[in-house]
């Protein structure tokens, strides 16, 4: 499905922030904002929901800890409880200090890597992905705010011109 969007270009992050607040106040839905670098407070101004990636990371860490405990309990205590240098392999708790470094590292490993993979999946990033930026300048020194048009082209153009946009384009866009 093709739809028309209006793209307002800005060349300063402060101007962009004010523009976002103005557009929000006028009750328009901002489709997307493209920035060359993170702009502090932009997510808040756009009213985006907070990320839950830290929560997933905590859960992945719990998985990693469980994997470490189950693995070492089976290998060192259940399967073949050898006497290695006099260490007490009678129960997991008796030999636990020796397992802590591995428990710790696997917790961190799972928490970090699975969280990164989650991030890639949720933000649709992979090696041969086609870049999505609407204008090459957005990776260098321009900011673009994109708003969908619903037969209100005039009104939107006027509003965005008033916010200090340096350029306004209207383009067809294929929604994914």
């Amino acid at each position: 499905m093709a739809s028309k969007v209006i793209q307002a270009f800005y060349n300063d992050d402060d101007v962009l922030m004010h523009a976002v607040k103005k557009v929000k106040a006028a009750k328009h839905h901002i489709e997307e904002v493209y920035c060359p670098f993170p702009v502090h407070g932009l997510d808040k101004a756009m009213g985006l929901a907070p990320t839950r990636i830290a929560i997933t990371s905590f859960l992945y860490g719990c998985v990693g800890l469980t994997v470490a405990i189950v693995m070492m309990n089976f290998i060192m205590i259940k399967d073949w409880p050898q006497d290695i240098g006099g260490k007490p392999s009678f129960s997991y708790i008796e030999n636990m200090p020796a397992f802590v470094p591995i428990m710790f590292e696997l917790t961190v490993f799972f928490a970090a890597h699975l969280m990164v993979i989650t991030f890639y999946l949720r933000s649709r990033l992979w090696p041969f992905k086609k870049a999505e930026n609407p204008d090459v300048r957005t990776t260098d020194d321009h900011f673009v705010m994109e708003i969908e048009i619903h037969n209100n082209e005039r009104e939107l153009t006027d509003l965005l011109t008033g916010t200090g946009a340096v350029e306004i384009n209207i383009s067809e866009k294929n929604s994914h």
Binding site: F58, P97, A98, V100
Partner: protein, 439 residues
């Protein structure tokens, strides 16, 4: 300006009075003779009985004379442990509260040396807490002097008769001798107190001046103090804590004690700040400041655990007899306090303060802070008690009395110090940044 509220003042005086009664009670109840010591143990100890039976059957194999001698030396040992108990209780509590003030002083010096932009709003709170270092440090010093004067047996290496029969202690006497010990204590306390007083004066002077020279000088002496502090703190921990167990040694002990005092200090900063904020006295302190302090509490709690575990695991793993006795006595006689402390100092803060939102909820920070402080009291308890009272430990009247007394004294002194200057610095170059600090 802050005025010491009457309720808090009376509360702290009541704490001191009750605590003093407890301390005196502890000394009165301590046995004077072997017979009294035996009576105390017999009256409230069932679990220990098994050990006695085993010892008795073991004795029967010996010649009669040797057995009697063995019994007598056992009783002497028991008596000295029970005599130590009120002293050790007093020492643990005195050291614990002094350590909080010293931890805050280190945090304060770091904030100055790092030119942190968020914390200048809290400098007066920190300066108020470090005021306790002067009386608190002197009390600890007095206890050390009393030990040197043989009023107690906290440090067995101070007993010439013990040293005469102990080659290991003779070998260490170049370092562990009473004169040098007290000289070191004077140098450390003198250095800490001198920095505290000078930095405080410069901090107040900066408020009234029209240039930044006091601020810059304060920056430089804070950096210099940190060098002195790290060396003196390490040696202090060998002297005042590790030497109660003079046959044992550990290389990272100084860091371990540092982590304990640092996290307790930060916790107390957070709690005092939240208290003053709740009274409306720190209007510019916002949730982000509390959030930062809570992050420090969280991070340093993990750092403490890392050091605790590193020390424990290395010794457990290699299991060398001359090192491992330290942990053997703790695991056998202090099982619950020893491992309970790890739960209080690690699991509790990690699970409660991991969530970013919880770090901004004041009562949550206070609740976690109380557990952290209790946990670090237990940390010092576990460091001192096994070497001084052994398996005769208990958290009873002498221990609680000493905690209440020093808690009351700490509150009294800190809040009295807070009344002596405005709670918000005026001309600190970073004060604007600190007022607008937002995380």
């Amino acid at each position: 300006m802050y005025t010491f509220s009457n309720r808090l003042k009376i509360g702290s005086i009541i704490l001191m009075a009750i605590g003093l009664l407890g301390i005196i009670g502890g000394f009165v109840m301590a046995p004077g003779t072997v017979e009294e010591a035996k009576a105390i143990v017999a009256s409230h100890d069932d679990g220990h009985g098994g050990g006695h039976d085993a010892a008795a059957s073991h004795d029967s194999g010996m010649e009669h004379g040797a057995a009697a001698e063995h019994d007598a030396s056992h009783d002497e040992h028991l008596l000295s442990q029970l005599k130590n108990r009120p002293w050790a209780a007093l020492y643990v509590a005195a050291f614990f509260f002094m350590m909080i003030a010293l931890g805050v002083l280190a945090f304060y010096a770091i904030q100055r040396a790092a030119q942190a932009g968020w914390s200048p709003l809290l400098f007066r709170v920190m300066e108020g807490i470090t005021a306790y270092l002067v009386p608190g440090g002197i009390i600890v010093f007095v206890i050390l002097v009393l030990s040197v004067l043989h009023m107690n047996h906290l440090f067995i290496w101070m007993d010439p008769e013990v040293v005469a029969h102990d080659e290991l202690l003779q070998g260490k006497s170049g370092y562990l001798n009473p004169t040098f010990f007290l000289i070191r204590a004077v140098i450390f306390l003198g250095g800490w107190i001198a920095y505290r007083e000078y930095s405080r004066r410069l901090s107040l002077k900066q408020d009234e001046s029209n240039d930044n020279s006091s601020f810059k000088l304060n920056f430089r002496i804070s950096a210099a103090f940190l060098v002195f502090y790290l060396i003196s703190e390490s040696i202090m921990s060998w002297d005042w804590i590790m030497s109660v167990e003079p046959h044992w040694f550990s290389t990272l002990f100084g860091w371990y004690i540092f982590a304990s005092m640092f996290v307790s200090g930060i916790t107390v900063i957070a709690m005092v700040t939240i208290y003053l904020k709740s009274k409306g006295l720190l209007p510019d302190v916002n949730d982000s400041h509390i959030h930062d302090l809570a992050k420090f509490m969280f991070g340093i709690s993990i750092f403490w655990t890392y050091l605790w575990f590193s020390q424990f695991m290395l010794i457990w793993y290699s299991n060398i007899p001359e090192e491992v006795t330290y942990y053997v006595t703790r695991i056998e006689d202090y099982n619950l306090p020893f491992f309970g402390m790890v739960a209080m100092n690690f699991l509790f803060p990690v699970l409660l303060l991991m969530n970013s939102d919880y770090k901004r909820i004041n009562w949550f920070v206070v609740l976690t802070g109380i557990v952290i402080l209790a946990g670090h009291y237990m940390d010092i308890f576990n460091a001192i008690m096994p070497s001084t009272v052994g398996n005769q430990w208990f958290i009873g009247i002498p221990e609680i009395g000493a905690i209440l007394f020093f808690a009351g004294f700490f509150i009294f002194w800190v809040f009295r110090a807070l009344t002596t200057a405005p709670l918000q610095p005026k001309r600190n170059p970073f004060i604007e940044e600190s007022r607008h600090f937002h995380y």
